[in-house]
């Protein structure tokens, strides 16, 4: 009844091509942003901001990046964490070696560095497909982490190879409090998500999807395969790189190369698959699921089951339930949480008069 498009006429091309063609969606989005920008930092505790929402947003960004590559351009990658590492270490070095480097520019620089590395490791995608490519991207994962550990210059010759991110300062304001950090991360993520949404609606996005659905056919109709695939790798790595920089600067503060492990790459891929392949909203839903589920499980187990079960059993139980739920979701909704959201919306259009 409330979620109807009846009576909303598009009289201009601009109106027909906006991101959210339905007025209710626009309002809903504005409301969501208003809540995220104004109510969340004011109402939620430090724990929620620091330990849940900031990592959630950062992982959403990384998942968004991988979703562009995997969901839209159809190239499977298991090296996202390595591209995050490139972003983190590049931003650190920009800040370290250039005096007065603005932090936002350093983040962009980190993203660009990751994009360049991404293009280099995307080159094999021109010859290799599917799981062969996925395993080949593992070369990027292991090689980059090895290189960052091995070459002292990247970590400013710190004895153990870790880097400590510099303070974030924009126009004289230092982002120290959790609220400030949260708002900074949120702003960057919102801008980049908007950009991504527009990118996948444009000719670039359509070319990606054509390559994904069948690259030979795409080539036949005149899409430049090399250009398209490498662009997908570059954009995807850029997003991962910025996410990595935020991971170091706004979240952990001090990072070591080994922190960007294969495990993290898998987690990001999970976010994409569980959230929904080829969906911007899916990246956020997936990240929420993967970030929150293990924490929720641990809280439940520690609060209510800690006396009943032996400690090792309760920890392993978490792992089993986590794996089980992933399988369950893949079976119940192989197209991801974003699909559930879509189905919900379609139901809502008819509700409460389904005729």
């Amino acid at each position: 009844m409330f979620y109807r498009e009846a009576g909303q006429f598009k009289t201009t091309y601009a109106a027909d091509q906006q991101i959210f063609p339905i007025r209710q969606d626009r309002l809903g989005m504005l409301l969501l942003l208003a809540v995220a920008f104004f109510f969340v930092p004011a109402l939620l505790s430090e724990y929620w901001l620091k330990a849940i929402l900031i990592p959630f947003l950062i992982f959403s960004l990384a998942a968004l990046g991988l979703n562009i590559l995997t969901g839209y351009a159809g190239q499977l990658s298991l090296g996202s964490a390595a591209f995050m590492a490139v972003g983190a270490f590049a931003s650190y070095n920009f800040m370290l070696r250039i005096d007065g480097m603005p932090i936002l520019l350093a983040f962009i620089g980190g993203g660009v560095a990751a994009a360049l590395v991404g293009i280099a490791f995307g080159l094999p995608s021109l010859r290799i497909k599917g799981f062969y490519l996925a395993v080949a991207t593992l070369a990027a994962q292991f090689f980059i982490v090895w290189l960052l550990t091995k070459v002292g210059w990247f970590s400013d010759y710190s004895s153990s190879g870790v880097i400590t991110a510099q303070d974030m300062e924009i126009l004289g304001y230092r982002f120290v409090s959790p609220e400030a950090k949260y708002l900074l991360v949120l702003s960057i993520v919102v801008v980049l998500a908007l950009l991504a949404k527009n990118m996948v609606r444009s000719s670039v996005g359509r070319a990606w999807m054509a390559v994904r659905d069948m690259d030979v056919a795409a080539e036949v109709i005149g899409i430049r395969i090399m250009h398209t695939k490498l662009l997908a790798f570059a954009v995807s790595s850029f997003y991962c790189g910025v996410a990595g920089a935020l991971y170091a600067f706004a979240y952990l503060g001090t990072v070591e190369p080994e922190g960007f492990s294969l495990d993290l790459s898998f987690k990001i891929l999970f976010m994409v698959i569980i959230g929904g392949v080829g969906s911007i909203a899916g990246a956020f839903l997936g990240a929420a699921f993967i970030v929150l589920l293990p924490i929720a499980l641990d809280v439940v187990v520690q609060q209510w089951l800690s006396g009943l079960l032996a400690p090792s059993v309760s920890s392993n139980l978490q792992l089993i339930v986590f794996g089980g739920l992933i399988i369950f979701f893949l079976i119940v909704e192989p197209h991801g949480l974003a699909r559930l959201w879509q189905i919900g919306k379609e139901k809502l259009r008819l509700w409460p008069f389904p005729h």
């Binding site: 430090e46 724990y47 620091k50 330990a51 849940i52 990592p55 090895w146 550990t149 091995k150 004895s159 153990s160 190879g161 870790v162 400590t164 979240y251 952990l252 503060g253 001090t254 990072v255 070591e256 190369p257 080994e258 922190g259 495990d263 293990p294 924490i295 641990d298 809280v299 187990v301 520690q302 800690s306 032996a310 400690p311 090792s312 920890s315 392993n316 978490q318 792992l319």
Partner: protein, 447 residues
């Protein structure tokens, strides 16, 4: 009859309110007399084997204090575990989750992971929660002037590396005999493995031995090429700076290439039953460092057996592991935590302590020989005296050898090369202070 019901109601209400009141008071009382300790733990994944022993010993010791003494100074110890899976992001979440628990908040955080330690360096300063890292973590944090909130206690990696050189020197018949000898540094290719590198290079210069560096890629379950190199190099000694599966694999590969295990010295994370048992007979003769020792024959372990396990309240599922290396390390964690509470209580009174007060307790921790004897931990761990400038407190290391069945102590507590290590710590801490814009504390003014 009409009056009865209201009367009954009033009575019931009175009883109820008294009960509620007393419950509330009781609650507040109970809360006021509890010291909360957050325990980030890892019981799944690649390092679960060591983790279950360490957390078992730690929790058992605190349970023993509660059972035997009724807590510390009448204040009961409470704790809550939080699964980190040895993962930095999960560790940070645990830290934030546990921070506000208990009546005074979490009073001490001990991550048992160098990665998580690094991620929390700034956060503990802002939140005023002391971070204690026993046998791991950031070495230069031993300079308490730059890192007031971080305590890399007992022995740091750098001190340990110098004791290894001393131990090897003693085995060669004097430290001057090291001249011209060749030592291989076989290390886990990570931040952890690189910790020992700089200090060993300096030691090599000082004593005139040559150092061959052989990194092993994570996880280290395949070391054929490294051991072929060792066969080619024919070193006099091999220092094994390993972690997890890398240790048994190295021991097996040593046997395979015919390198004597008696000539291998391991870091303490290579010196537990979890490192030698999987290697079977190949581990026999291998020596490793330790900031605490193995074995159940100490009064403190006996006290845990009597007060905890006899009442069926023990944390270990496999009771035979009580007294294993990792278990005893956990007991050391427990002892240090409890003694810091005791020290702080002496100043601030017998009440639950805040993080700030606990920090004072850690900084003034002084576990001398007499105190160790009282604790039933004589020879179990070294003396410990923390000061404002020195957050390491001891530096002493003992060496144990695996005889195929158990770890046997083969050395006394060995002193580190204090001059060199302290110099390096201060230099590195000063660099950190400059980077972060920290003005080091003046320890002369600290009370």
């Amino acid at each position: 009859m009409k009056n009865v019901i209201p009367l009954k109601k009033t009575l019931a209400a009175a009883v109820f309110s008294v009960a509620a009141l007393s419950a509330a008071v009781g609650d507040a009382f109970a809360q006021a007399k509890e010291q909360f300790i957050g325990l980030p733990s890892y019981r799944v994944g690649a390092y679960a084997a060591g983790g279950s022993g360490l957390y078992g010993g730690w929790i058992d010791y605190m349970a023993m204090i509660n059972e035997r003494d009724g807590g510390v100074g009448g204040v009961k110890l409470t704790w809550e575990e939080c699964e980190t899976e040895y993962n930095n992001a999960r560790g940070v979440e645990c830290y934030e989750r546990l921070k506000k628990k208990g009546s005074t908040g979490n009073s001490v955080f001990q991550p048992v992971s160098t990665g998580i330690t690094y991620s929390l360096l700034d956060k503990v300063v802002a939140d005023k929660i002391p971070m204690v890292t026993i046998g791991y973590g950031r070495t230069d944090a031993a300079d308490g002037r730059v890192f007031p909130w971080v305590f890399p206690m007992i022995t740091t990696y750098w001190s340990q590396a110098t004791t290894m050189v001393k131990y090897i020197g003693a085995k060669e018949g004097g430290i001057d005999k090291l001249k011209g000898k060749k030592i291989v540094y076989l290390y886990h290719d990570s931040a952890f493995g690189k910790e020992g590198l700089t200090v060993l290079e300096k030691q090599a210069q000082k004593y005139g031995f040559s150092l061959v560096l052989l990194p092993v890629a994570h996880p280290g379950n395949e070391q054929q090429s490294q051991w072929l190199r060792i066969r080619q190099e024919k070193p006099d000694w091999v220092i094994l700076w390993g972690w997890g599966v890398m240790n048994p694999t190295a021991l097996k590969a040593a046997a395979k290439t015919g390198y004597p295990r008696e000539k291998m010295v391991g870091v303490w994370w290579a010196g537990a039953e979890e490192d030698t048992v999987p290697a079977g007979d190949a581990a026999k003769g291998f020596t490793a460092a330790g900031f605490s020792v193995a074995g159940p024959n100490y009064p403190v372990i006996k006290a845990i057996q009597d007060n905890v396990y006899k009442k069926n309240k023990g944390n270990m599922e496999d009771k035979t592991r009580v007294g294993s290396v990792n278990y005893n390390r956990g007991v050391v964690h427990g002892i240090i935590t409890v003694e810091a509470i005791r020290t702080a209580q002496a100043k601030f009174g017998k009440k639950p302590l805040s993080g700030d007060e606990m920090r004072w307790g850690f900084e003034h921790l002084d576990i001398d020989a007499k105190r160790l004897k009282d604790l039933g931990a004589e020879g179990f761990m070294p003396n410990l005296k923390i000061t404002c400038a020195d957050h390491e407190g001891s530096g002493l290391v003992k060496y144990q050898q695996w005889d195929g069945k158990q770890w046997k102590i083969v050395s006394d507590w060995i002193e580190p090369d204090r001059e060199m290590v302290r110099g390096m710590i201060e230099e590195s801490a000063a660099k950190y202070a400059k980077e972060k814009g920290i003005t080091p504390r003046d320890c002369a003014k600290e009370g």
